[in-house]
Subunit: 268 residues, 2 copies
DNA sequence: GCCCCGAGTTGATCGGCATCAAAGGCTCAA
DNA sequence: TTGAGCCTTTGATGCCGATCAACTCGGGGC
């Protein structure tokens, strides 16, 4: 018997704010979590995999699945009710937006990664669905209660936050010191790597093909460039044979090693 | 009787690698930590203030004080023995350096802040003393042992790591979207704020004066600019009356509110 | 088929910061 | 006092990416 069927995609409603009716607060024996999470595509890579069974059960009792269409806001700093989530599929973008209209994408959360800001900080970020999403969501209260009860969860979050910080600092180098050509190559390389190996870091395939979660404007907002510049640099990479010509959002990487090389050498 | 005297600056040796002889592993009753940490300038703001007495005692038993002269490396990614520390005084810079010579400063750690990367990640950072430092140091083994024994420490670290991530993301906006003029104003504002209010965030004074921990080259490496550009933008800020003319590393801010305004508006 | 609309591409020009160059100022030592 | 060496400032010029503008492409509605 396939347990996935009972929790498969067909059960999700298309309304963005509807919760899966099987989730919620019904008290469960230990095996409930096992059943609920069995079909989860990211269960071996997400933070749930790092905590004790008891903590995992508490998580299993509190989450609800949610689908979010591309473009919809997941949270913004001006709303009070916090939300936390693990990305099941799709990509979340974190944007720093200013009153004068300038904006910078400061983070992308891929499947198995965590979304949300515990201990409300000073940051002023907007989290949006870059593509259609499936999320494993927690209300702020529920998640914080679990965190207080199971400090090990803080440890798991700490590891992931440190990884995010490493990523952010790598990105800072790009924003401060790389040329436009390197930036575009870096972004495509990063997306290819993280889309094809969610959660863990393996050697990437030499060729790959994927749908970009980002438009040209969004790529530019990631890279500190304008969309015209992104477009030109993509044309250059195609001319070099690193990318194959394909439709707008479809990327066809012919050589990941070449792409990586271009992402680190300033000359054209 | 002044306890500070017993642990005052006069006891520090000038050799960078010498440890304070009073620190170390002598088993202590609860009050030992209280005595050792009593004179600590950052004890109310650092992460030690957020943990239980028992955990604080374990920390108190494990640390050693260390002075580090400006310019010296604290840790680099190629060395295996890890180190962790709380900054007592001075500023630590975290630099992302590449083989081709390009570099970007991706973090500054001020007094009361934490230095070190638990759970060794993928990042390739160099931590150096930007100014003369006093550190409260832990060996990698000692610190990780305490962390395993007292998970609450992970919670305290999580809070600080999340704050660092917020800071990094704010900095990413600067690197991606601000003009040279805004960048220089942002940096001076940030340094002034953090130097004059170590640890906590209050409204800054309208005027202030401080010694910069950074040379022009280092400021440029923070901002993704060249040192000549930094110099020109500083001249502009002086011409506007936001900064008063003073010697190279002495900054004399005449109006923090004006400085903040210039750090957010793209026009000159 | 038709138009419309938004996203992306390509071209022409502009401007801000980098780059190259030289001079000023401070510290230290002889 | 003088000169060396380093950091910083200031000036002249050039280039990369921004900006403005026109065009192409593809999809959807009628």
């Amino acid at each position: 018997m396939k347990l996935e069927a009972a929790f498969g995609l067909s059960r999700y409603m298309s309304q963005p704010d509807c919760n899966d009716s099987m989730s919620g607060s019904r008290r469960g024996e230990g095996s409930l979590t096992r059943i609920k999470c069995q079909g989860c595509a990211v269960r071996t890579a997400s933070l749930c995999s790092e905590v004790s069974d008891e903590c995992a059960n508490a998580i299993g009792r509190a989450f609800h699945r949610r689908r979010v269409p591309a473009g919809q806001v997941i949270y913004s700093s001006d709303q009070k009710n916090k939300i936390f989530a693990v990305v099941i599929s799709g990509v979340v973008k974190l944007t720093n937006v200013r009153p004068d209209g300038r904006q910078q994408i400061v983070g992308l959360q891929f499947p198995a990664e965590f979304v949300g800001r515990p201990y409300s900080g000073t940051s002023n970020l907007l989290a949006e669905a870059a593509s259609n999403l499936e999320l494993c969501c927690f209300s702020g209260d529920a998640f914080e209660a679990i965190m207080r009860r199971y400090p090990e969860l803080e440890g798991a979050l700490l590891k992931r936050t440190l990884d995010s910080l490493d990523n952010a600092r790598e990105w800072m180098f790009m924003l401060g010191r790389k040329t436009a050509h390197e930036r575009v190559a870096s972004l495509i390389y990063m997306i290819a790597e993280r889309l094809t190996h969610p959660g863990n870091r393996k050697e990437p395939m030499e060729t790959c093909r994927f749908e970009s979660p980002l438009s040209r404007t969004e790529m530019a907002d990631c890279l500190g460039l304008r969309l015209e510049t992104v477009s030109r640099q993509l044309a250059l990479l195609k001319a070099k044979g690193v990318l194959a010509s394909s439709r707008n959002r479809t990327f066809d990487v012919r050589s990941m090693s070449e792409l990586r090389r271009w992402s680190e050498s300033p000359v054209e």
